[in-house]
């Protein structure tokens, strides 16, 4: 109850939060209703219409294959956002249980876990994903796999830190003394205590994930043509940059807006939930 009131007050206070949540909801709406909102088939190639300026049929013009840019941008939301949420979800699926497990059990389990983390984190994560995709071969599935495999460590480690903070609280000790089984302690006391911090972390970092996906796609390692994706659209427009800079500009703006919106939302959420400290970005 108290939290709700606090949230409501903060929401009104923070215009940023309102603006950013509108943008995020808008993006999600675009992704969900892409097929209704897009004026044209995003993958319909018509060489005769290539590199057109804005017109009533193509509001933002066409690309080098005569495909509608606006439609591709809208469908790109689906791919970019969808992939990012999937990647984030998978990472949380792995790192929440493992982080809690290592943090709560402690001792040798924790020691082993920390050494694995140290080893994996010794490499720059983006380069490691890049190398992995290189080995596995390009494609959406491999891209997701590579990102999850490399970055779950980071989140597991942050979550472990949160658990260590909660674990020392007396109510956990009291629960142990009451004879509460470990699993119940985790579900009833530890998870609710850290979940708001985890949510903030997810929102602050999802922008980074979108950026990473677009970067990998830009390098041709991620989503494969003809599927529309912002990073790949930028890549495609490279040869025409001099004469048609708008081709590159539109997807760039989209990436920029989404990443900023998620970061601002995460930041505002952090203030609203009064969370003092949460780990930094992905990269």
């Amino acid at each position: 109850m108290k939290l709700k009131i606090k949230m409501r007050r903060m929401l009104l206070k923070h215009k940023l939060m309102i603006i950013s949540s509108i943008i995020i909801l808008g993006m999600i709406g675009l992704a969900l209703f892409a097929s209704f909102l897009a004026p044209n088939d995003p993958n319909f190639v018509d060489i005769a219409q290539k590199l057109q300026g804005p017109s009533s049929q193509f509001p933002l013009g066409t690309d080098h294959l005569g495909r509608c840019i606006l439609s591709r941008l809208i469908f790109g939301t689906q791919t970019s956002l969808g992939t990012a949420i999937l990647v984030m979800g998978l990472m949380m699926f792995i790192s929440i249980p493992l982080g809690i497990f290592a943090g709560f059990i402690g001792g040798k389990v924790d020691y082993l876990f920390m050494r694995i983390c140290d080893t994996l984190m010794a490499f720059p994560s983006f380069l490691l994903s890049l190398a992995l995709v290189g080995i596995l071969g390009p494609g959406l599935f491999n891209l997701i796999l590579a990102m999850v495999l490399v970055q779950w460590v980071y989140y597991a480690r942050v979550i472990r830190g949160m658990v260590l903070g909660v674990k020392e609280q007396n109510f956990i000790v009291a629960a142990k003394v009451c004879g509460t089984p470990k699993f119940i302690i985790i579900m009833k006391h530890i998870l609710p205590a850290i979940i708001s911090q985890v949510v903030v972390l997810v929102f602050m970092d999802i922008g980074g994930v979108i950026l990473a996906i677009s970067s990998l796609s830009f390098l041709g390692l991620g989503i494969q043509p003809p599927e529309a994706e912002w990073g790949m659209m930028i890549n495609d427009s490279k040869p025409f940059f001099r004469n048609y800079p708008s081709l590159m500009l539109y997807p760039g703006i989209m990436i920029f807006i989404v990443v900023i919106a998620f970061n601002l939302f995460g930041e505002a959420l952090k203030d609203a939930l009064d969370i003092k400290r949460v780990g930094g970005g992905v990269e």
Binding site: K2, N170, F171, V173, A174, A175, V177, T180
Partner: protein, 264 residues
Amino acid sequence: MSILVLKNIKKTYLLRNSVFEKRKSIEAVKNISLTLEHGVCLGIVGESGSGKSTLGKIILGLEKPDQGEVCFLGKNLHNLNSKELKELRQNLQVVFQDCYSAVNPRLTIGEIIAEPIRNYKRLSSVEEENQVQQLLKKVGLSPEDVHKYPSQFSGGQLQRINIARAIALKPKLIILDEAVSALDALVQIQILNLLAQLKEEFQLSYLFISHDIQAVNYIADCLVVMHQGEVVESLDDMEQLEQLEHPVSKKLLSSILPPFPKLF
């Protein structure tokens, strides 16, 4: 049979200051032996750092001693399988100094007090609520408080809630680790009175750990003085408190502020 017997308990902590320094170790508890009889309140007094809280943790089974045995109800506490341990846990409870962090702020008072009950008994939600309300009455709170959250209570009231949780399973021994030290002077007396009353009613034994010899004197039946991990003096009859001889005991006694204005 004594309820609790400690035999030659030792506990050493390793300090890892830096990679280059030699590892230091601190002997928190050195060779302590104690016996606690049924229905008795044993006070453990000492300054901070005397190892009294570590001893409490060892008795609760939260820390393993390096050496020695903790026999609770005739069984070695640190030598049991998890099922036996759970069985024994029912009879061993704790109340901490920091009443605020001892309750999960996200749960209602009802859920907090019901936690130990749920672990040992299968009750319908009505029976459970009945039990919780009775416990609340026992500790002097209103049964209507079941649905409130910890943030709606003062420190003294929260300590009552902690006590209600501790007596929920009708334990034999409760460890009171500085249970009243953080409370206002007036509330301290109220809580101590409550503890004394509950002790009579449920035939409880207490291990009352504190730095405040006055609070110990008020409630305990016998006392030991701890200093640097050792028991330096013990007393079976509290009436003879003034006759404590060890310098540490004397220091503790002399630190009591007189109840009247004594302009230095």
